[in-house]
Amino acid sequence: MDKNIKILIVDDFSTMRRIIKNLLRDLGFNNTHEADDGATALPMLEAGDFDFVVTDWNMPIMQGIDLLKAIRKSPKLKAMPVLMVTAEAKREQIIEAAKAGVNGYIVKPFTAATLKAKLDKIFERFE
């Protein structure tokens, strides 16, 4: 797995962004960037050469599910792997995310092992 891939972490709480950033760093991914909601993230993704998105669901302005749908609609971004890390755990929400084309779904609170397992699974598919 290429550890230099450029990753965007999208969450409205800076604490959660830092936790995910630190966990990713421990796994060897140092090229991480941050956005605080979907509306900030989307232009960054369109403009930058990101390889992977980790996003929360519940955020102000543009929610994670809408960001995911926008990514799948964009000709440039549609193939980008998206991992959802969220406290939302209702069955219809998980199904909705799956329908929208999510690549992994982690419910908060989560462990470093869960994050690693989901990343491995996602990249296994993309390699």
Binding site: T15, A87, A89, Y105, V107, K108
Partner: protein, 251 residues
């Protein structure tokens, strides 16, 4: 109600109408029927008006009692704003605690890495020494490197202790926010009780509201409450359940 209606409408009345119709006196029959029907209506309407009146009075009294309840006044004007303030400061305190902890963890990281790297660098020469296969020059170099590691570790260990202490102290938010949350919980319970008392005046039986009524569709709910997880199968209560659901969808 049936009793009163009977008083207005009697068999004699009906017999009279029957006789009139049989005698071919249509007009008189209709007139009698109309007058009977009028008096029936009046009685019925009177009952309805009376019921509306009672309801209006009850509603007025309940609203008045609710509005004049001094405790309600205090809740609305003092306790509620304070509760909002408490919740806002809980967000701030937990945010600060998380930042302090994460800062400390970030500060620990290079110290631990330095220790790791130092040991990794020493290991080959150290292993050689342990197996008695080290020459004088390498032994001297090893001693110097050990000396460097000892001194830097002494310093780093002190710094690590300080950072761990910071992490420890940052947890004091649990006690402080816990006390504030208790206050808010007791206020919510009190308001809940008052609202239920108010509602009970106007409902014969408690309408059962399923917990799901309050959280329809895809609107984000935040972390699922334990009580919700227990009551419904609609919420995944662990990562394993999420994985199973996704697997069933072909993931």
């Amino acid at each position: 109600m049936v009793e009163e209606t009977k008083k207005i409408l009697t068999v004699d009345d009906l017999d009279e109408i029957k006789c009139l119709v049989e005698a071919g006196m249509q007009e008189e029959a209709v007139a009698k029927l109309c007058s009977l029907s009028n008096s029936c209506c009046q009685t019925k309407c009177g009952q309805v008006f009376e019921q509306v009146g009672t309801l209006t009075r009850d509603l007025h009294n309940a609203i008045k009692a609710f509005a004049e309840d001094e405790r309600i006044q205090v809740i609305a004007k003092v306790d509620m704003p304070r509760a909002s303030e408490r919740l806002a400061s809980i967000i701030e305190m937990t945010n600060k605690a998380a930042s302090r902890t994460l800062d400390a963890v970030d500060a620990c990281d290079p110290l631990v890495k330095q220790l790791q790297n130092g040991v990794d660098k020493l290991l080959p020469a150290w292993n050689a020494l342990m197996h008695g296969r080290i020459d004088r020059d390498n032994f001297v170099t090893l001693c110097r490197n050990v000396d460097v590691l000892i001194h830097s570790t002494q310093n780093n260990a002190k710094n690590l202790c300080e950072e761990l202490n910071t992490i420890l102290l940052a947890q004091d938010y649990q006690d402080l926010t816990g006390q504030m949350i208790q206050k808010v919980i007791s206020l919510v319970a009190e308001v809940e009780e008052k609202l239920l008392t108010f509602l009970k005046n106007f409902t014969d039986e408690e309408k059962s509201i399923t917990k799901d009524d309050a959280q329809q569709g895809l609107t984000p709910q935040g972390p699922a409450l334990e009580s919700v997880k227990e009551q419904t199968e609609n919420v995944a209560s662990s990562q394993d359940e999420v994985d199973d659901l996704l697997a069933s969808l072909g993931f």
